[in-house]
């Protein structure tokens, strides 16, 4: 019980995430005496680090194998298959792994740690109403002073983690699992939820790790406990609609409500570690208007891709942005600048490919700064699998609408003009 309380105190709720499980395991391993307690604390930290190391890969082509919730769920499944007794064995193995993990020792982490320590000795957050935001301000002051613009997002996350650890260690407190942002601007997160009680809790828990100014959760057409799951865990502004709003309408609603400079869009069915969201927020901070999820690393060979992926690529190629591959505003996570929201307008945000076409037409800056594998994590529903895939139908329709809009704006051939054909020779009016 004591261990449980400790894990909770460090901000790792004992119920789900792998980090929490490892913290548990570490506690168990440590026993109850004074010396092992510090060891336990260290393990708690390493566990948190491991959970966090994953998103640092964002932007890279290949991701570390065996990282993330998929593995954890795989293990759970394996344990379930084996029955009761092996579950104990499994737990032992976890303890071993957690204990064998190396201490974080990257240069970025250490630099962050030193900075955090200095600030920890210097300033207090006690009187702050919004402690994580306040710490983020100190952190930004640090990064700006030291001009750490050249850091990769992975390094940034390591440094910010080190900073948080250093700060709280200096104040002789257990560091919370906070993830700091690479921006001073205000950030809003918008989450659309429809019958996603199993995942939404974890999604919200990850958002709670970030210094977000606004969080909107749009629960619609839900007949399960999605709403309660959010309400129990979050200070977010939760909007609940008994009827389904339809695809991507929740996003537009969130965009209407949000006042922030940077808007981050998520879905309730895909749990993304807070660290993995940093590149999207950071890219908008650095001037991008649309920061899309780079799904390039997860694409199958063309012949095995679905129709929707083909349409996404064709839309980008048609818009002269072949470089964007199949990256699409349809996919989460993505972030928009306030300028993008205002330029594109809410009706277009409801049809993401249309917004993307308009963004290119209006010269907004589009990048794909991070990679999150949403293909694997996407919840399988009756309407998005199989032969009569209604969602695919909808998204293809969205792309037709986008191409139609692009054609109306820039001519039906867009930039691909036909200057060679002597069409009058065909004898038709065409």
């Amino acid at each position: 019980m004591q261990q449980r309380a400790r894990a909770t105190a460090s901000g790792l709720k004992p119920s789900s995430s792998r980090a929490a499980v490892q913290a548990h395991g570490a506690g168990r391993f440590a026993g109850g005496s004074a010396a092992p307690r510090s060891k336990a604390r260290r393990n708690t930290r390493t566990a948190a680090h491991k959970a966090g190391a994953r998103p640092g890969q964002a932007g890279r082509v290949k991701r570390a194998k065996g990282a993330g919730p998929a593995l954890s769920s795989g293990r759970r499944a394996a344990a379930a298959k084996r029955g009761k007794r092996p579950a104990v064995l499994l737990r032992r193995r976890r303890v071993k792994r957690a204990a064998a993990m190396p201490r974080i020792s990257s240069a970025a982490y250490q630099a962050g740690y030193r900075a955090g320590r200095e600030d920890g000795l210097r300033v207090s957050l006690e009187h702050e109403p919004f402690r994580i935001k306040a710490l983020n301000r100190h952190w930004m002051a640090r990064t700006q002073a030291q001009q750490r613009g050249g850091l990769s997002w992975r390094q940034f996350n390591e440094a910010s983690k080190g900073y948080v650890h250093g700060y709280f260690r200096a104040r002789k407190q257990v560091p919370p699992p906070w993830v700091l942002l690479p921006t001073d601007k205000s950030v809003a997160a918008i989450v659309s939820v429809r019958n996603e009680e199993k995942t939404i809790g974890s999604v919200v828990r990850q958002l709670n790790r970030l210094p977000l100014d606004e969080v909107y959760v749009i629960v619609n057409g839900s007949t399960d406990r999605s709403f309660q799951q959010v309400r129990e865990r979050s200070q977010a502004c939760v909007l609940s609609f008994p009827e389904a709003l339809g695809h991507d309408v929740g996003r537009a609603m969130g965009a209407k409500l949000a006042q922030a400079d940077i808007l981050l869009f998520l879905d309730g069915d895909i749990v993304i570690p807070a660290e993995a969201l940093i590149p999207f927020i950071g890219a908008v901070d650095r001037g991008a208007d649309l920061a899309l999820n780079d799904i390039g690393p997860y694409l199958n060979p063309f012949a095995k891709q679905d129709q929707v992926t083909h349409m996404k690529q064709f839309l980008n190629a048609s818009l002269g942005r072949h470089d964007l591959g199949a990256n699409s505003l349809t996919a989460v996570p993505h972030a928009l600048s306030r300028k993008a929201v205002e330029t594109l307008g809410l009706p277009n945000l409801m049809v993401p490919p249309k917004a993307q076409a308009l963004a290119v037409h209006r010269g907004l800056r589009i990048t794909a700064p991070g990679s999150v594998n949403v293909i694997r994590g996407n919840k399988r529903r009756r309407e998005n699998t199989g032969r009569n895939n209604q969602v695919a139908d909808l998204i293809i329709g969205d792309h037709v609408e986008a191409l139609k809009l692009a054609g109306d704006l820039a001519g039906e051939r867009l930039a691909f003009v036909d200057a060679l054909r002597q069409r009058e020779q065909t004898g038709g009016e065409g």
Binding site: G221, E243, A244, L245, G246, H247, D248, V249, A252, M253, K256, G296, L299, N300, P301, F302, A303, Q305, Q307, H310, M311, Q313, F314, A317, S318, H322, G325, L346, P347, M350, E383, Q390, D393, L394, I396, G397, D398, H399, V400, E401, L403, K404, G407, E412, R413, L414, A415, F416, V417, D418, L420, R421, Q422, R423, Q425, T426, G427, G428, E429, G430
Partner: protein, 256 residues
Amino acid sequence: MRILNKNHSALLRAPTSKVSVIIPVMNERKTLAAVLREVKKLKPLEIIVVANGSTDGSAAIASKSGAKVLTFDQPLGHDVGRSIGARHAAGEILLFLDGDMVIPAAQLRPYLRAVERGVDVALNRYNGKLSRSTVHPVVLAKHALNTVLGRPDLKGASLTTIPHAMSRQAAQTIGFEQLAVPPKAQAIAIQHRLKVKAVHLIQVGKLNPVRRREKGADPLGNLIVGDHLEAINWYAKATNDRGLRSDLSRNRHIVR
């Protein structure tokens, strides 16, 4: 078993004497004679060579071999020759080829057979190179168009690709002038519920001469991508903005 029977009955049917073969030619002296030689094995009703902008004597080669030659001093631009040739054709089946690609007669027969058996537009089952995750924009465009038209089963099969055959009836339904922009013709054909089918595979990618692609700029590729955009736009106008696709329960009026 059934397939065998079908083929058999097709072979027993009247010979393919009602075929018009349409070959646009622009300075393709090197290959034209061989192309014509293979085509003649099909015993077509007529061979229509649309020589445009040719200065190398291609037209002379064609007329010497007995083809009907339509000559234009200026290049007509891509695929315009097909449209003109089709308009002049008298046969019941139109077979479209290029002057620069020699395809054995035996490989051409499946297209004619398919049209004889009731297919309106018989396409080459060629999809392009698909082994990588990203493909050439032209290949992408072909797949995307078929998807939009609700015919993902056609994959990358396209009227842009030769060889292909269609009934004269189909060409009339589509409109001869539309054949100059093949993807648009494909959209029209499918929209008019013509029977469009990918019937036989010829690896034109391997036969395609390298000279077609210049380094760096890809004017032909851009033209074809534009054609597909034109086709999708036509389709969106002929149907609706979403190409008749569902909007599911999207409540667009709840926020503005």
